[in-house]
Symmetry: D2
């Protein structure tokens, strides 16, 4: 629990997050949500692995995409939802860790389009290493 738990933004995002079947399937949880920045935690499990036993690029991408999308949602105009138009992700190291923290941040927010950057940090004991960097385009759509 954190200082944003009771805000409207946090509630809106937590309830949308709960509706994402994939986040439950992967075992991810919403860590924090504030204006323009959202964090999601993903504990490692072999259910997320690629062929060498590390976390699959797709699992890493899924959580940082959700983090970027929700970061955009915190700044979207009233009456709008967001969808990901596209993203690009670099994988900077093998995704090895006890858990991963994905952070999405709004860089520029336009009327119809938001550009976010995100990163994923692998955490093992005291070690913290960046394993992925995303740049994403999120589109506002009227509900």
């Amino acid at each position: 629990m954190n200082e944003y738990t009771m805000t409207d933004i946090q509630n809106r995002i937590q309830s949308s997050f709960n509706a994402q079947g994939l986040m439950q399937t992967l075992g991810a949880r919403l860590l924090s949500a504030q204006e323009g920045e959202v964090q999601i935690e993903l504990p490692f499990s072999t259910a997320l692995s690629q062929q060498h036993g590390y976390a699959h690029a797709g699992a890493i991408t899924s959580v940082v995409d959700s983090a970027c999308g929700y970061a955009a949602l915190t700044l979207a105009p009233a009456g709008h939802e967001v969808v990901t138009a596209e993203f690009k992700t670099n994988f900077t190291r093998p995704a090895i860790g006890e858990r991963f923290i994905a952070t999405g941040r709004v860089e520029t927010a336009g009327k119809t389009m938001t550009v976010c950057r995100g990163d994923v940090v692998a955490i093992s004991g005291d070690s913290r290493k960046v394993v992925a960097l995303m740049q994403a385009t999120i589109v506002n759509v009227k509900v």
Copy 2:
């Protein structure tokens, strides 16, 4: 089962695919593997959904990333494995369908780097629609 099932390439890729925990978690299966092109099928389930009930961009990306990676592997030099250095994916329509077929194709294969393009088609009855387009950089690493 298809004409490539018994080849070395197919065996190599099927056994690597089986080792990807995430592919089992998502419910994906290897459809075909031939030189420079690999297809993976993903039946839709609510375990893959984003907040509107469609397939999550991360699930779609996971299967087309694996398809691109394995397409690169079919052309990798002997004694090499592949890892995804980066990819970019456009989501061209809501990912709505009974099932999805992800295809990865090698565009250019260098000594250390392979560039692939991929797409994901959503299938519902007779309807087939492209829902995602990927361009990916895959790196050969000595085992």
Copy 3:
């Protein structure tokens, strides 16, 4: 000159192309324009070089971006212009050649957004080699 020279599409694109100062500065010329596909030619010159004497990634990107944008324009709704929201380019070989041909093709055209793929081929005598691959998001804007 080709079969599309006299069409409205060709005229619309040629006149927009002529208004692009950068295309003149680089020495590029419009080669062909048809529904969903546009080609631009760029003769090599040292004015386009990077530090090793090859064509600079930025020059190569400039012409394939214009080719993708104009391909999108051929399918844009009446009363709309296009702008590039983002693109991603892979450089698959050193851009060495007497001239380059950039092709942009529409992959999916939505109401507000078009996804294009492009490539750049280096030509030297009889040799033709792909030196770049682009995937781009083009947005329709009302004029």
Copy 4:
């Protein structure tokens, strides 16, 4: 002139920059170079325009690509040059300004591959606005 002008890094990059025909053609100049960060300035001129009179996405991309490549070069192992493997650029606003400053920064530097992020700021009088965001993969190559 700045505090890095006389260092080896600055000299190495300035002399490589001078060898880039495209940078001269566009009218760009090297502003600063320090470990992991390089800035390039591009004054606006109609020779850089797209069809609406703004700076062309290709011109903007050219300078931020060079800034990212040189940022990577400041951290490359001895005896290595750098080439751009791929980049992705978002255009966040029309590129309108008296001049543009492109900054490239190293995010992660591996043995063979460096990931950089860059941005381009448009400057008009006191106004400074981000017009582009890049994420790039730069490869070290032995000379």
